[in-house]
């Protein structure tokens, strides 16, 4: 039997070794499964969940902003944004090429946005393009199965219908920066928009809603399978402003080609009716990813369009300050209303000659005419009698040198100088001559247009000052000033004459049918030793023109303060705008008055 004797011992020896090797490999693989499934199982489970559950933020709509008559001034329009989730991408380069072809955007911007958002390693969708057109959306959606890494997000784009007209009051939005993300407790995420200026900044908490979240289960191609959970977004609260769009528009129109500020407020409540700073800018450019050139143009513009001149610029008050001087003089009993001062066009105090703006002089002037015709000589003497300490005291009592407390951020407090300030900040003693300069609102004293508006409100209400505010508010924070009401009555009468008397400097603001009272002011930008007409100077050396006023029509009042930078005399540069604003604001009263 050949087969029986055939040699198979060797085979039988080697076979178990082969089996052992196979079992060894099998064990090795089992160990690997143990490691992946049991030791690292949590990690892979998380990855599986991350694969499956897509968390979408439901962006809360920002609150709308209305002006006084219920007209919308800040709204949201739908905007389509493109998100890219690199962790879902099988071929990121191909996806980016596709996006570049589908969008009318420079390729580099997509890639920059991707890198800013965390780059190719990100596990979160990154916003790479905003404000897509409908055709762009269609192009992306058409190939959504091929490119599951893309998602179109319907966002909100802030739109300021009136653009530059309401820019400084409303402000604008900006993307949160790393500092906001780190310091604020609110759950900001990169790419979120928050208020950066104006009402948008000051009322950010009110306007900003609470983002919701929607978790959906998707398959490997990003197709929606089912909803997993939903936490609805809470829209922000709407905000009503006391602002009057008609006044804003008129003021903006008036300032075309000029620089300056207008503020109008209701003296009874402190509600701001108009706040215009010129030149302005278009806040809508901030609603999208900001174009660097546009930003640089705004920042570097010499006329500083981003500045809200109503609260952020300070100026010498000029002759407007004579109101404070009169209040101080009357309160302190330094002035006898009947007593006259001789104005011969100039006077000599502290061994220096002080000029009146009127070369020929005013002759014998008492307080009323001194205010009406803005006689400088009268106030030089009053200043000397009062001294800087008392001038400073009454300035502060009337709201200068401190913030008005308006409900916007970034307000400047101006400067009320006194010897203490001089020693502390300048390191030099106060010179008596400076008191004489301050007496007519020149020298180191500085005010914001809004401070002048609160000063006028005090005169208009015989001694009340309400905290100014742009947002409509049910409660009014009102302060009765220490200066007695009769003082304001006297001043008010003089201010009425400024506008309504034959020789008043503010006659350009006269509106038949309503009672307008005001004070002009002209601020020398460059000290003039002689009488030179402002119009003959180069623009940047021309005087600033003030017109600070209030008007009463029945039981309604309005304060209007106009400042025209380098506009020359307040009487010609600033007063005409006040007149127009009064005509608009009181048009119902005026119409009724004519018909009755």
């Amino acid at each position: 039997m050949r087969q029986v004797r055939e040699q198979k011992e060797d085979l039988l020896q080697r076979l178990p070794r082969l089996q052992l090797a196979l079992f060894g490999f099998l064990l090795l693989i089992a160990a690997r499964f143990w490691f992946v499934q049991v030791v690292s199982g949590d990690y892979y489970l998380e990855l599986a969940e991350n694969n499956r559950v897509r968390e979408l933020r439901l962006k809360a709509a920002r609150g709308l902003i209305y002006e006084r008559q219920g007209r919308l001034v800040a709204e949201n329009v739908p905007s389509y944004n493109l998100l890219l989730d690199p962790s879902r991408s099988q071929d990121l380069e191909k996806a980016l090429t596709f996006a570049e072809r589908s969008l009318n955007q420079p390729a580099i911007e997509l890639r920059e946005a991707l890198d800013e958002g965390g780059g190719a390693g990100s596990f979160r969708p990154i916003l790479i393009a905003e404000a897509l057109s409908l055709s762009e959306v269609a192009a992306i959606e058409a190939l959504s199965l091929e490119f599951p890494e893309f998602a179109i997000e319907v966002g909100h784009l802030r739109l300021y219908r009136n653009g530059p007209i309401t820019a400084h009051t409303l402000g604008y939005l900006g993307e949160v920066n790393p500092r906001d993300l780190a310091s604020r407790e609110s759950p900001f995420k990169p790419g979120d928009l928050i208020g950066r200026k104006g009402v948008e900044l000051a009322f950010d908490d009110t306007l900003r809603g609470v983002d919701g979240q929607r978790a959906v289960i998707v398959d490997s191609r990003g197709r929606f399978k089912e909803e997993y959970g939903r936490d609805p977004a809470k829209s922000g609260n709407n905000l009503n402003l006391g602002l009057d769009l008609d006044l804003q528009q008129e003021a903006t129109r008036y300032f075309e080609g000029r620089a300056g500020a207008v503020v109008a407020l209701d003296p009874a409540t402190g509600e701001i009716r108009a706040m215009v700073s010129a030149p302005s800018y278009n806040p809508n450019i901030f609603s999208r990813r900001l174009d660097r050139d546009a930003w640089r143009n705004l920042i570097e513009a010499p006329e500083d369009p981003l500045q809200n001149r109503v609260i952020q610029n300070t100026y010498s008050p000029g002759s407007v300050f004579k109101i404070v001087m009169a209040a101080a003089g009357l309160s302190e009993g330094v002035i006898d209303e009947e007593e006259t001062v001789w104005c011969g066009g100039s006077t000599r105090i502290y061994n220096r000659r002080w000029r009146c703006w009127k070369r020929g002089g005013h002759g014998h002037v008492a307080l009323h005419r001194a205010i009406k015709e803005s006689c400088d000589v009268y106030f030089y003497h009053l200043g000397k009698k009062l001294g800087i300490e008392r001038i400073a005291k009454y300035s502060r009592q009337l709201g200068l040198g401190r913030p008005t407390g308006i409900d916007l951020l970034g307000e400047r407090e101006g400067l009320v100088p006194d010897p203490d300030w001089s020693a502390r900040r300048r390191g030099t003693p106060w010179y008596p001559g400076e008191t004489i300069s301050v007496a007519i609102g020149q020298g180191p004293i500085l005010v914001t247009p809004l401070q002048i508006a609160t000063l006028m409100a005090a005169v208009a209400t015989n001694g009340y000052q309400a905290r100014p505010h742009v947002a409509e508010s049910s409660s009014v924070e009102k302060e009765q000033l220490a200066v007695e009401p009769w003082v304001f009555e006297r001043i008010g009468a003089a201010l009425w004459s400024v506008v309504n008397d034959q020789r008043g400097t503010g006659s350009a603001a006269r509106v038949p049918g309503i009672e307008v009272a005001g004070k002009t002011g002209t601020v020398q930008v460059v000290a003039q030793e002689t009488w030179i007409k402002s119009e003959d100077l180069p623009y940047e050396q021309r005087d600033h023109g003030w017109f600070a006023s209030y008007a009463t029509a029945g039981d309604k009042q309005l304060v209007v303060v106009v400042l025209v930078e380098h506009g020359g005399h307040g009487s010609t540069a600033a007063a005409p705008l006040a007149k127009r604003l009064y005509e608009i604001y009181f048009r119902d009263y005026l119409d009724n008055g004519q018909s009755s």
Partner: protein, 380 residues
């Protein structure tokens, strides 16, 4: 075990009426049982993996399983000694079939249906492997020496080289590669001096380098590249690797539950019902399920080895070794691939993956192995 060879003559001398059924009962049915258990698990898993596919592959796979049992019976009843005797003609037929696939298969995609099993295509390469194992077993069994000579090794290799080249020409590198472990297993058991292994390793390296540069297609290279560095992701093979690992890992110890695996149910897994079926199983049944199936595969290999150890002659032993080696390599490579240990290649998992020819081939192999066991006492 050597004692069994001593009993051969005594059992063979038993009276002719020795009951056929009693002999049948002594066959190592555990081998078939483990194959059937794995197949049943396969049916369940194929069903789960199909839930997001266009059709449910469970009925088809059940049909293949039924056909598999049929071919098992046929293979079991065929005398392996006769088969090895006629292995050269069988081998020749198989090679002609491979050649035909190569020629006709290029004309149309469904050209393989000429084998005529309904609408289902058959992959002749799976059967060519068995034919090759038969011829190899015959050749090596005839060499009654402790160690093979170099020439004999080369001769054995050339038997395998022909079908390998033909299959590789079909661009089925994975299928071609499956011939190598079969050959290796049989050579090891038939006796290869250790120095040849060293030489073989060197040759393999050279061949790999040549293959990389001249033979491999770009997509194949990408698979290897993406395995080497999963971060780079040129064609999404790193993605597949990653998704498979996530599926496996997220199964944790006890699994996410039947049809609850998000990776497979939400289509993150590629080739869920075929090459990556084990990832589906790992996701839904966890490590416990993985361990159970691996144990079943271990039982199959162990029982197969037992059968080989008590086989009657060299050709029986070598045939089993060849079939088992191929089988084991499929199991090891596929599971290692699913868990991210080796590059992705189209190598299915025996009895678990959906697939007609592959299932049939595995049942034929099982039938042949148990057929060897059934005839361990036959004396001619």
């Amino acid at each position: 075990m050597r004692s069994t060879s001593g009993t051969i003559s005594t059992t063979a001398s038993l009276p002719d009426e020795r009951p056929f059924l009693r002999q049948l009962a002594t066959v190592r049915w555990a081998l078939l049982i483990s194959a059937l258990l794995i197949s049943l698990i396969g049916l369940i898993t194929v069903h789960s993996a199909s839930s997001e596919l266009s059709i449910d592959y469970l009925p088809r796979q059940a049909l293949w399983l039924g056909l598999g049992l049929l071919v098992f019976v046929v293979a079991f009843s065929l005398d392996y000694q006769s088969l090895t005797k006629f292995s050269l003609p069988i081998y020749t037929v198989a090679m002609v079939m491979l050649l035909l696939v190569l020629l006709v298969g290029k004309e149309a995609g469904g050209a393989r249906s000429w084998l005529g099993v309904g609408a289902y295509r058959l992959q002749p390469s799976e059967f060519a492997k068995i034919a090759t194992a038969l011829l190899l077993a015959r050749y090596l069994a005839g060499i009654n020496r402790r160690f093979l000579s170099f020439g004999q090794i080369m001769a054995a290799s050339s038997i395998v080289a022909l079908p390998m080249v033909l299959v590789a020409l079909e661009s089925d590198l994975g299928g071609a590669a499956m011939f190598v472990p079969m050959l290796a297993g049989m050579l090891v058991v038939a006796g290869v001096p250790w120095r040849y292994f060293a030489v073989g390793a060197g040759v393999a390296l050279v061949l790999a380098a040549v293959g990389w540069n001249l033979v491999m297609l770009d997509y194949q290279k990408d698979r290897v590249r993406s395995f080497m560095s999963p971060g780079s992701d040129p064609q999404g093979t790193g993605y597949q690797l990653r998704q498979s690992k996530i599926a496996v890992g997220s199964g944790q110890l006890t699994g996410r539950g039947y049809q609850q695996g998000t990776q497979s149910q939400l289509r993150f897994l590629p080739a869920r019902h075929t090459d990556f079926i084990f990832a589906v199983l790992a996701e839904e049944w966890g490590f416990i399920g993985v361990a159970m199936v691996l144990i079943l595969y271990g039982l199959y290999i162990g029982n197969g080895t037992k059968v080989a150890l008590r086989a009657r002659d060299r050709s029986g032993i070598l045939l089993i070794v060849g079939l088992l080696s191929g089988f084991a390599f499929h199991v090891l490579y596929n599971t290692a691939m699913v868990v991210g240990l080796v590059p992705i290649t189209g190598i299915p998992l025996p009895f678990l993956s959906y697939g007609g020819s592959f299932t049939l081939a595995n049942f034929i192999a099982t039938g042949l192995i148990l057929g060897v066991d059934f005839r361990r006492h036959v004396n001619r």
